[in-house]
Symmetry: C2
Subunit: 224 residues, 2 copies
């Protein structure tokens, strides 16, 4: 396997390619050119080719890309041919919502346990799991070869729990708390900052309104 480090920007785009290719595959489409893919994905054909060139190109001159092959290859690169064991820490609405996302299971992400510090929740059933007390966390992670922990707890708790997870063998944290976590090398963190996302939407709404109302010419810097 190629050990060249691929930029996070390219990696960030792969799941979207995977999603579109999955739909094309479901529709029975066998081959597609970069231009056709560009038209439906609203990404330039040149970007598509550049992105795929990070992984050996895939396509054939005059043929385009084989949809099923491309889908499988991107899936493999994303590690979707493996299964991953997950736990959820924080059994509130958000934690329960994530536990119920069947989309994750289809991608090989399996929820093995769910934890909460609230004793009145202990033993309550969510899907095939019972909510466990926090005291059992480290032992459970080690005994069940848990790869990733999903943190759906307030930020002060998230910082403490991240500390507890270091050294348990966990390899990744999917963090919904509104804080940046400091973790040792060896633990990857992916943040989902919902407030940031909503603020970005608000900015774009207000900017659009300002531009449509303005009498002045706008100078554009388009660096997407």
């Amino acid at each position: 396997m190629d050990n060249k480090e691929i930029s996070q920007a390219v990696i960030g785009r792969l799941p979207r390619y995977f999603r579109f290719l999955g739909e094309l595959k479901d529709e029975g489409v066998e081959r597609i050119s970069s231009q056709e893919l560009s038209d439906i994905m609203n990404v330039t054909a040149s970007q598509i080719r550049q992105d795929f060139n990070n992984f050996g190109g895939f396509g054939q001159q005059g043929y385009g890309y084989n949809v099923e092959y491309l889908y499988e290859e991107i899936g493999r690169i994303l590690g979707l041919d493996k299964t991953h064991n997950l736990i959820i820490i924080g059994a509130g609405n958000l934690g329960q919502a994530l536990a119920n996302y069947t989309n994750f299971e289809r991608r090989g992400f399996l929820f093995k346990g769910i934890f909460d510090c609230n004793p009145s929740l202990h033993g309550k059933r969510i899907r095939n799991m019972k909510i466990m007390p926090m005291e059992q966390l480290e032992d459970f992670v080690k005994a069940n070869e848990i790869d990733m922990a999903v943190l759906t707890i307030p930020k002060a708790s998230a910082v403490k729990v991240a500390g507890r997870l270091s050294g348990t063998g966990i390899r990744g944290i999917w963090n919904f708390a509104h804080v940046d976590l400091n973790v040792p090398d060896g633990i990857q963190v992916e943040n989902v900052h919902l407030s940031d996302s909503l603020m970005k939407l608000a900015y774009n709404i207000n900017r659009f309104d300002n531009e449509t109302l303005s009498c002045f010419d706008s100078g554009f810097i388009d660096e997407k």
Copy 2:
């Protein structure tokens, strides 16, 4: 107000600046240099200065930046000095989780209504709202000057609902469905693709494992 179009990459970084500056303000810090901000945020000082230069610079030579002023200015750019009226469409776990995020209210994002197609949920109370049937959607949006709709529904429904929202005066859609929406100009869309985020984490975990196990030299392309 400057009508120059700022790149989405810069806009995407503003909420994080806002968050760190808010914490510094709460801690009573009055001024900060780009280097100090760089050290705590793990962003280069040069990036910070470039980003702020999009909005007129803010800082003073030899002084650095005034924390409170910077916080207010970025808040204003993000439109946080305004309030926004929101509705939630889809009253499942995720929709209810979002309805309960007090963080959003602090930023001026006010939930005014919540809708679901399931009749057994109608009339059920979430915070200060009662779950309404979908038939009331368009009238409610117009009567209550709703700015944004949060879609926490399956993808086929999301596509249909986006169609219904066009022409109601809504200006933004915060989309949690695993699909890209086609909307007219005048409606901004911000997608939260949770599966994509989780897949990116899985990739990073597996890449890290491969690199620590490899005997070969890696060539690095660092284009973050």
